[in-house]
Point group: C2
Chain length 114, copies 2
């Protein structure tokens, strides 16, 4: 739980990455639940490619990781990222986004492939 320091240019890149409402919401959701692309498509009012592109940016930065489970690719927070601590810190300032998943559930769009 060491409070290490990030290069300021690197930190700025991460803040820019998270300085987008869609991506920030994604990350907040992923803090508590893994999600697949189609769930995000259900949550955001945006095309599937747009969702994929946001996830790609998060993945390229190492903030999230992906695992294929059958037909679906699930994204999760990368707890081993060197930015994880910063990200956790940020997320603590944000309200839960669990309502978005609850809505999905109501619509029968929640994926569970266990």
């Amino acid at each position: 739980m060491l409070e290490s320091t990030l290069d300021i240019g690197t930190a700025a890149q991460i803040l820019k990455l998270l300085g987008d409402k869609t991506r920030l919401t994604m990350v907040k959701i992923l803090d508590h639940h893994d999600c697949c692309v189609c769930e995000f498509v259900g949550i955001f009012n945006m095309s599937q490619p747009a969702i994929s592109q946001h996830l790609r940016k998060l993945k390229d930065a190492g903030v999230v990781g992906e695992t294929r489970r059958g037909q679906w690719i699930f994204y999760s927070l990368n707890k081993n990222s060197e930015y994880y601590q910063l990200v956790q810190n940020l997320l603590s300032h944000l309200p839960s986004q669990d309502d978005k998943l609850a809505q999905l559930e109501e619509q029968g769009l929640r994926i569970s492939c266990e």
Copy 2:
């Protein structure tokens, strides 16, 4: 020291604002020292209008405030901002930028108008 929550869209805006290396460095410096525009001009390899424009964005968001002292306008962190807590949290992940002020001092460019 209440840990209150920010609207996620608002938080994203603040992160975007700070997701620029120049502005993030400015804020980190202002965390410890008030600075005037011409000092920032000395620190960053950038024109004076560019500096003013960055400061304007920070001011418009309420992250920093300004006070005229004679010929100079000094900027400072706005400790009353509703984002102050978030900002402090972010800054704790960044290395000190005091070397930049030290360099200024060496060049005789540090302003003190007390």
